[in-house]
């Protein structure tokens, strides 16, 4: 066989395999559009991908915090029955109890993502995107990661530099 014949024979085999695979699958998945998925599409990527429109300031966040968060996380994020949101003492042992947003979390987007999907505890997924931006801004300002008058939005939030950004080693890079 010539090279061309081998290539075309291979192509035919691949086509047969592909059509057989399609024929085997039940094909029962219901087709969705991006609009159908929007309400569930909560994942925020560390480069800012999928951050929604909207914005909020630390001052706005402080007011929402006093209503929605203070009961568990304490005044000014100092902690209560739930974790403290402030603190940046250097990590000196292998105890995870020392981890805080300011001394450990590598990406600012994680704060927005987690508040939006999980908080407040009793009514998760009820905050507006503006409220989530404002709370994120408030927490970052408490931790002196941004100035008190900085607005958080899809542009500014991913640019917040987290102090421990380079503190990680991927355990098994070959598996990624």
């Amino acid at each position: 066989m010539s090279t061309r014949e081998i290539v075309s024979a291979t192509a035919i085999v691949l086509l047969l395999v592909a059509s057989a695979a399609c024929a085997e699958g039940p094909g029962l998945g219901k087709r969705l559009s991006a609009a159908d998925i929007a309400a569930w599409d909560l994942s925020i990527l560390p480069d800012g991908g999928n951050l929604p429109p909207g914005s909020g300031t630390p001052a706005q966040g402080a007011r929402i915090y006093a209503q929605q968060c203070i009961a568990c996380h304490g005044e000014s994020g100092k902690g209560g029955i739930s974790a403290a949101l402030i603190g940046s003492k250097p990590i000196t042992t292998i105890s995870g109890a020392q981890k805080t947003i300011a001394n450990f979390w590598p990406y600012p987007t994680t704060v927005f993502d987690f508040i939006r999907r999980a908080m407040p505890w009793q009514q998760p997924k009820t905050l507006t995107d503006d409220e989530v931006y404002a709370l994120t801004a408030y927490i970052f300002a408490l931790n002196k990661l941004i100035a008190d008058d900085t607005t958080m939005n899809a542009e500014t939030l991913p640019q917040v530099r987290m102090p421990n950004r380079d503190g990680f080693i991927v355990r098994f890079p070959d598996m990624m």
């Binding site: 909560l42 994942s43 029955i81 505890w121 080693i169």
Partner: protein
């Protein structure tokens, strides 16, 4: 069956070959001796027990109760239960630990499978639950439980282990706690469901996709990023656990199963898989399960639950009932594949004997190991150490601590100060038969 006199069995017992120091015997005794010698070896006390005339017990003299539609275990087994960290469902996570010291074989019964949940057990109507696959795919698709039931299914045995299992072992002194308290956040079941690769064939995959971000339908929307390679390898949308639908604490009606990988990544109540070009750096991967190392850096994307074993019988809290013959047994497993070998020591690691592995030895699943032991009534330190088929050895404690560190002071037994402990566990047997936890 022929009974054996004490005299004869004693002769047989004496013929069992020592395989290592302090009374460890050759595992092949299990194979060679067949019934007689090992039956005697394993029930040493029976030979010395005083016999009494047999009589009929009450249950032999009247008919029993009605057979129930869904059977519960004997009322005499009620104390075999998980230990709970948050029985009143306060607003924090909840752990339920498997009582390894009261189980045998390799399958964890569904009611005793470990659970960690971060905001309680959701009450999901299976008819309303949906699984959505979207992002960098050619066609986003939604699947109901009914539609998934028509897809080709597979079954496999598989362990699931919390990344924080065995965290008390980071304490600088050995915590005096049971194997359940130390290692109860690992369990093993037969999982049945649809391979994720089957569903991704239908959605198609954009060549830019490298990760699959998985999310649950629980109130926190627990979410983890999984490399596409794992998703296409052996990831499963699990629907059944040991033959019945998943337990509510284990993800009913569907969970992601990533054989051999960190428990938290096996997202329960799975409702969404988004294909992306980067990991999402979620709360659980960038904070909780990124563990601190000595020197201040942290491991991220640990993924694997590495080769590990621990002895369940005897173990902390048990009392040995006189010198003589015992079976040392435990479980071994590796996220890298099959267990190749387990060695057991009765003298704190000075000498080792090879344990027998119970067939079938399955990849990324519990393997039960057993070793015959003649306890001379003196002090002993029992250890097990496993190797997997990829050649990885379970690290000795000194090796492990040198790389991964120790806490400056003991942490509360229910805390997760660090993750992915896979070094060995040592049980000390005292002359009075009590078993304690030691570092050796």
């Amino acid at each position: 069956m022929k009974t054996i006199s004490g005299k004869r069995s004693q002769r047989q017992l004496d013929q069992l070959e020592p395989a290592a120091g302090n009374g460890l015997l050759d595992r092949r005794a299990f194979l060679r001796g067949g019934g007689a010698a090992m039956a005697a070896a394993m029930s040493g006390y029976a030979l010395t027990a005083k016999s009494e005339p047999l009589k009929h017990d009450p249950w032999s003299l009247q008919a029993g109760s009605a057979v129930p539609a869904y059977e519960k275990r004997s009322r005499f087994e009620d104390k075999v239960a998980r230990t709970l960290s948050n029985p009143n469902n306060e607003p924090r996570n909840s752990h339920a630990r498997t009582p390894h010291q009261q189980l045998n074989g390799t399958v964890t019964p569904n009611g005793l499978h470990f659970v960690i949940l971060h905001s309680g057990v959701p009450d999901i109507d299976p008819d309303k639950h949906r699984l959505v696959i979207h992002g960098l795919v050619k066609q986003p698709l939604e699947f109901s439980l009914d539609t998934l039931a028509r897809y080709p299914m597979v079954s496999r045995m598989g362990f699931v282990e919390c990344g924080g299992n065995s965290a008390p072992m980071f304490s600088p002194q050995p915590m005096q706690a049971s194997v359940q308290a130390l290692h109860g956040l690992a369990s093993n079941a037969e999982w049945t469901g649809v391979l994720l690769s089957t569903l991704l064939e239908e959605t198609g995959i954009d060549p830019k996709a490298k990760w699959v971000v998985a999310e649950g339908a629980d109130s926190l929307g627990v979410s983890r990023s999984v490399p596409l390679g794992k998703a296409l390898d052996d990831a499963m949308i699990a629907l059944y656990q040991n033959g019945e639908r998943l337990m509510p604490g284990n993800g009913y009606p569907m969970r992601l199963l990533l054989p051999g990988w960190e428990g938290n990544m096996n997202i329960k109540y799975l409702r969404r898989l988004k294909l992306t070009d980067q990991p999402a750096m979620t709360y659980y991967e960038s904070k909780i399960y990124s563990q601190l190392l000595p020197g201040g850096k942290s491991y991220q994307f640990y993924f694997l639950q590495e080769v590990k074993s621990f002895i369940t019988h005897p173990s902390f809290g048990m009392a040995m009932k006189g010198k003589g013959y015992y079976e040392i047994s435990g479980v071994a497993y590796s996220g890298n594949g099959r267990i190749a070998r387990v060695m057991v020591s009765a003298d704190g690691g000075k000498s080792w004997a090879q344990a027998a592995l119970q067939e079938p030895v399955l990849s990324k699943a519990f393997t039960r190991f057993r070793a015959p032991w003649r306890w001379d009534g003196g002090s002993a330190v029992l250890q097990s150490r496993a190797w997997d088929e990829a050649g990885n050895a379970q690290p000795l404690r000194a090796e492990f601590v040198a790389k991964r560190g120790e806490l400056p002071a003991p942490a509360p037994i229910l805390a997760f100060p660090n993750q992915h402990y896979n070094s060995i566990t040592s049980w000390a047997v005292a002359a009075n038969g009590e078993v304690s936890h030691v570092y050796a």
